[in-house]
Amino acid sequence: MKVWILKAFCFGALLLWIGALGTGTARADIPAQPIAVLVNQSVDINTLSPAQLRMIFAGRTQFWPDGSRIRVFVLPPQSDTHQQFCRHLLNIYPYQLERIWQRVVYSGQGEAPKTVDTAQALQAIIAQTPGAIGYLPEPVQTNNNIRVITVGEPL
């Protein structure tokens, strides 16, 4: 009874695969680029583990340990820096992160990160916003309002 459906499923999957080959699926290799994680000077944290960083950028942790709000800023999803940040620092595909954000926002669990168009604008908004966190390609010019934090397992 269900053989025709399984055959059709396989045929559909094959068509999708051929379609993907034909359109040259747009996940081109991105050249490796070191990324720095930045926080506003008000944030009293020097190190975050990769798992903690993922909790913050996935919107699952919305407050710093002192009770102040975490304000997360990201670059546009298509930017090379965002793609690198997701893959190498969060260990997640960008579409997985977007799926998590939608789940957080549309089930009343919190806010998605704010998208900022350029690296310069992102640096400026982190400097201005207490509790802010974001990322930029290295090297980063820090100042009195911005700090670079370490991502790694605590010693």
């Binding site: 059709a8 999708l16 975050l48």
Partner: protein, 395 residues
Amino acid sequence: MKLCAFSFGAILLLLSGYTRANHDNFSWHGFIAQGLTSSTDSNYITTGNEITTELTEIGINGSYVINPSLSVSGQFVYLDGGNRFRQGVRLDYLFLDWRLTRLFDWQVNVHLGRYKNRHWWYSATQDVPHTRPSISLPQSIYYDGNRDLALSSDGIALQSTKTSSSGTWEVRWSYGRSPLAKEDTKKLLSPQAQGRVKQDFTHQFSTYWQPDSMQWQLGFSLLQSEFTYEPAARDILLNGQSGIDRLTLAARYDSENWELTMELLRDRLMYEGDFTQGITLDVDKTGEGGYLQWRYFLQNNLTGLVRFDTYDVDRKDRHGEQLAFNSFGAIPEHYGYMDTLTFGLSWDIKSNLRLSGEFSRTHGAGRLTAVVFPDALVYAKPYWNAWSVQLMYWF
């Protein structure tokens, strides 16, 4: 009603430009989706093979952070899905979110009020068009007739998320009950029922594990629920008590260019009740089903979908022969099962605008009948088709 909803939607569209200017502690979001849809050789979506615009979803949600431990969230939705749903406005959820921990690695939340069911892959946002993989969800798990009952309940829910270098572990528990509209009674029990079904309670537990590689996610959920039937003054059903036990197993694999999702289900349904003329009914049957879904990211803004969904109403009668025999042929065999194959395509025109289309071919009508007493009143030929096109905007 639909005109009011569209007017409200137009106001939302005008206001959506201001959503970025959120107050520090208040945020709001929304969505508007409109489509064209039809079912042929079946009354699943439309009657008489007609094409309709009854594919409207409009919603608005808001969250207010009272302090680091407490916030309030809620969402109103207007829904018109042809024959699939009760047309009208719903309060999908409204709950107090109490954060018990403030640790980076471990979040524990308690939800009080009308909490959302978060126990299945898509249940947390199954009411939000652009978060679903397709316009219609697989009916084996996300049965449309059960939508309001499955989406949220009034009571208490607990959610824990623990993360470490080895992975993320989520545990969810909830206990509550859902108010049921009169139309829900007919979909759940029988179109002949004149009284009301009341849910006594629904008790759910689920847990999901995702290793640090983040590619796999595995989990299971358990559900136990009881219902009581309150008959009308003139009714064919004099009383009734029913219970549902449900187990689901879930797995997902995320690759660079594609995503494979699977959920399997086993539903045990028990019913005891008295009809007029001294007939007693004692039902105890177990249904089984599930789906396998493959999404391929053809381009950054183009996603294809192929899904096989299957459901057998009674695992001891997978071909519906007993069903037809017991009803002296009044209920055809194909009401004992339902197998659906769906093809879909989604195009993200902008970051908050999507056009989706899908076509499905179905063999059987097992999910078109009332859950407790299968009834062939929802017309369907053994093989039937459905298609939908929907434009979605969100902010």
